[in-house]
Amino acid sequence: MRRPLLLALALLVSPALTVAHEAQDGKRLPVIGPAPSFALTSQDGAPVTLAALRGKIVAVSFIYTQCPDICPLLIQKMVQVQGELGADFGAKIAFVSITLDPEHDTPEVLKDYAQFWGTKPEGWTFLTGSPEAVRDVTRRYAVFVAKNANGSVDHTQLTSIIDAESAMRVQYLGARFDPEEFRRDLLSLLHRP
């Protein structure tokens, strides 16, 4: 009598079944590798590093304030998610937006931009730095950047979700993604890291 019961229990929690289930519902995000570090300056002029954010789930995106189309779409989407994260936003989950146009996007410019979009400063940091420092970060995140003669910046719109141990877990390309899926991915790292 006990044998079938034990077997059934063992099968129910077998790794193979677990993996198949995870792959299907996407709840367990993969570990891509260590997230590239950065040390830049916030919209308040304070130094910010990825290491200092260890312990929080971090969404790192790349934008520039004069971006006419795709960045506003992304920011708008993330503002929506910010509102849906409630008390976890800031306390456990942080958004970091790194400028791709450091020559123009000074801390002051970024502060105005953050206020314009209604981002919450307790959870959302906008970062800038020297062109070399920003270039180094974009290179290590494999973000393509090219400044055009008219001042616009061609770039890959890439948002990376990093877990509390500073491991890269998933990346979102473009700004057409489902904000609900994005929110679920963030929360999944809080509840099932």
Partner: protein, 335 residues
Amino acid sequence: MPMMQTRRRILAGVSLASAAGLLRAPVSLAAEGSLETTTIRIAKVPAICVAPKYVAEELLRAEGFTDIHYVEFAAGQDTTEPLARGELDFDTNYAVNFVAAIDAGRPITLLAGVMVGCYELFAKEGIRGISDLKGKSVGMQAVNSLPHTLLTVMAAQVGLDPLKDIHWITDPKVMPIERFVAGEIDAFLAFPPEPQDLRARGIGHVLVNTALDRPWSQYFCCMHGGNREFVQKYPVATKRVLRAVLKAADMCASEPERAARRMVDGGFSPRYDYALQTLRDNAYDRWREYDPEDAIRFYALRLREAGFIKASPQKIIADSTDWRFLDELKRELKA
């Protein structure tokens, strides 16, 4: 008693392993380790529908490749042979070409499907369907070329005997589009930028658009493959190349204007309007959705039925595909 003890141990072991499985997230096979090589060689052909491999140039640079070589080939020239010989490292090519090359024993590993569409069957007015090609003249540059193979498969699908029923006009020196425009042939298979050119000039009409018409639109037309030895030896580089190409495919779908501009700036297309039209006409957003194995199976079966290849789809899939990188990227890269 000892048996019972063993069973308990096994079950306890299974449960522990299961618990570990529940706690562990899948770790990337080629996690972000150091690149084994920073040099990459990719084929450049005058077919702009395989745009992602061209749009990927800057993304490859962002992935850490410093020496990116686009090796030029003429229209219709076979790139699977240099790929197999190791003169190229990767290529995005038509599934039909890859299947035929693998059947011929070339060491190529297919890594992902990239896009759907690419070719359109153009015909003169009065020809309403593929079956109307019976007794008509169809142009191609060479026997066993991609247009010849595909048209043979298409004709066989509707019950024609491609050898007897179609009057094939073969000329390696003259592009079939030139003969078609001159009214010397009744139909030919057009590849971008040819369809865009014919539409702009109001010449002929489309019998089959593989981006829209079934069954062709249900399978990848073009796949990304690598030299087998390179893929085995350099898994980190392989994954990064594939990631750049698939990111580029997403870019072609979501921002065709920017992708078209990059193709012109990079010297891959002389005309922005044709590049843009090509990007809009074909489906570059299917790499997560479609199963690349289905495409291999579909084309391998059709080519086998038509007598072009001998290997079974199962053998081609077992020996010459590796979807692990794609599977990882599907989980890691959302859009």
